[in-house]
Symmetry: C2
Subunit: 342 residues, 2 copies
DNA sequence: TTGAAAGCGCTAACAG
DNA sequence: CTGTTAGCGCTTTCAA
């Protein structure tokens, strides 16, 4: 009877036996080839190739006490258009630093009581936390053990100094509102707000409010309603608004996805953009330039955010110094949906 | 001197000591709680909670010889709009079967000589292969070891019987072309083809060709050019076409992303859609319905594809019987960009 | 119902 | 330059 069932993948010992050396030597040609005599090395490498040997990650992790994995914890992966660029950036950063990416979105799956998820200290070297899928308590617990963490699109709970990357949301929204007021002379600007509790949403609305205040335009609460960063929600809200006889000169959607929903509602109601109702968004999702008319919006560098977050995390894992906060600039992108002719 | 630096996460032995039992017993309350006396169990559970103990995945993997991880191997994560729905479906399937998702896209990172990637038998229980990021030889090697594999959007190399999920591409393209010919009476239909070597692209073009043939319309090679399933490529191609005086009554883009590129080129050239040039796509990406005019396209159930693939893989891993091929139906979605009034 | 002991596959001193 | 040895943290017989 053979020692191993034929189908079991080769181990380092199989390689060692095959090449007549010890397991330690095989390990060396894997991790420190120069410590091994060229001829031995060649022998071992041949055996590795013949046996199709790949070191079991679990065994290496166990021995090394690291996993070479970066975990991404995020809310449900939806159809949001800012998601692919962000993920692309994260992937890029991980690859650059030699980490694999472990993704876990919290939809459906129940977190364990402590608000803990399936990604954590037990299977990754560090976590990227997107928005707020885990509890502050869990964040705090991890941070206190100095487990490497980087937050995306949110700042840390009070008292913690977790590195994070966020957009210049307020400045972006302010610039956009200024544009609507100063260039187009609008006074009544409807605002499709993002979801409650979302930081991006909070700061964008603040930028809008500040601009109004700066121009001595009284805030009309009737002009602020929920867009929810979601097409469907924004579409429903806009339709209701229209039915109720919305009295506004323009709509500022807090993100492009909600702008799409509003556009759809406007189209259905037979309103032309921008003649009957100018509309602008925030994010500059890839498709926004394709709409007719192309959407005026604020560019938020999602890919860069992902990339930067991954880099920061990788550096933290390696013990290097890491900036504690990255504020990525936003930029006005004037196209035709606001009424500009470009 | 303490045995462990205070910061090291608790191990099963710490829990055992704390609750005055053996490690084996702790392991039992983790995996087979009923084998442990209720009181002991309670004791252990308390210790687990106090110590914030979570079993190290690597150690479990090593001991169990499985990882509870499903790997997704894909080409570069881009801005393609079909990607989020597909990933959403995959996530859903993984969650349902209790697997974590490991993602690896092959852009940038060099595969090792054998065409092997960082995801494989050594760190996952099975692989979802999207398109063709790894070599046929590697696919064959894995399949021969009966390592669980499921292919997405491609069929297996000749001779292998790897389960796969694909769209009814040919039928979809055929239906669309039929529509253009029969309902709109078009004879000269330009086709923006997908990338060479891509199976979706191949079958879609075949559907187009078959429809022409069925209607006795001679194929004009000048009417087929590369759209590459990519906005930029399609935009450039369409612009060139227009410059060269494209003589067509409509454009059929092999996917929605390339339709977007064509639309952009058309817009720039001052052509109205559909009056001056009707255009249709394939996929029904989420934004297609938002364009003005909304894009007529073929709906390909991307989320379902991802979900189904994940399920099939999970079932294969568990040793259950698995269908060898899932052919997902496609469906005509008539909107206004083809000239229909809906 | 519980504990002791061996083993999963790899790495890292320490000798030689 | 290479082999021996002792873990890494968990699971799983086998006995008691």
């Amino acid at each position: 009877m053979m020692k191993r069932s034929a189908n079991h993948p080769a181990t380092i010992h199989d390689v060692a036996r095959r090449s007549g050396v010890s397991a330690a030597t095989v390990s060396r040609v894997l991790n420190n080839p120069d410590l091994v005599a060229p001829q031995t090395r060649a022998l071992v490498q041949a055996a590795i190739a013949e046996l199709n040997f790949v070191p079991r990650a679990a065994a290496q992790n166990l021995s090394n006490r690291r996993t070479n994995v970066i975990g991404l914890l995020m809310v449900e992966i939806g159809w949001d258009n800012f998601f692919p660029p962000m993920l692309h950036g994260i992937e890029k950063g991980c690859v650059e630093y030699g980490y694999d990416l472990f993704i876990h979105s919290t939809h459906l799956r129940s977190l364990v009581p402590g608000g803990r998820s399936s990604l954590g200290e037990h299977n990754t070297d560090g976590l990227l936390v997107f928005l707020n899928p885990i509890s502050d308590a869990e964040l705090e617990r991890l941070d206190h053990k100095s487990f490497p963490l980087v937050l995306l699109h949110r700042s840390p709970p009070a008292g913690l100094e977790i590195p994070h990357v966020v957009f210049e949301n307020k400045a972006g929204a302010r610039k956009m509102t200024d544009h609507l007021i100063e260039v187009h002379g609008f006074q009544r600007i409807a605002f499709l707000a993002g979801p409650a509790g979302n930081e991006d949403a909070y700061w964008r609305e603040l930028g809008y409010r500040e601009s109004l205040a700066a121009h001595d335009i009284p805030l009309d609460p009737a002009l602020i309603r929920l867009g929810g960063f979601a097409e469907e929600i924004a579409e429903a809200t806009t339709a209701e608004w229209l039915n109720a006889g919305l009295d506004a000169q323009a709509i500022f959607a807090a993100d492009d996805d909600s702008a799409y929903g509003a556009i759809h509602a406007l189209n259905k109601a037979g309103k032309r953009i921008p003649e009957d109702m100018p509309i602008v968004g925030f994010d500059d999702s890839p498709v926004s330039r394709l709409l007719s008319p192309p959407l005026t919006t604020v560019r938020a560098p999602s890919e860069q955010a992902g990339y930067k977050a991954a880099r920061m995390l990788a550096q933290r894992i390696r013990g290097g110094p890491v900036e504690t906060k990255a504020l990525l600039p936003t930029e006005l992108v004037i196209r035709r949906s606001c009424g500009c002719v470009v």
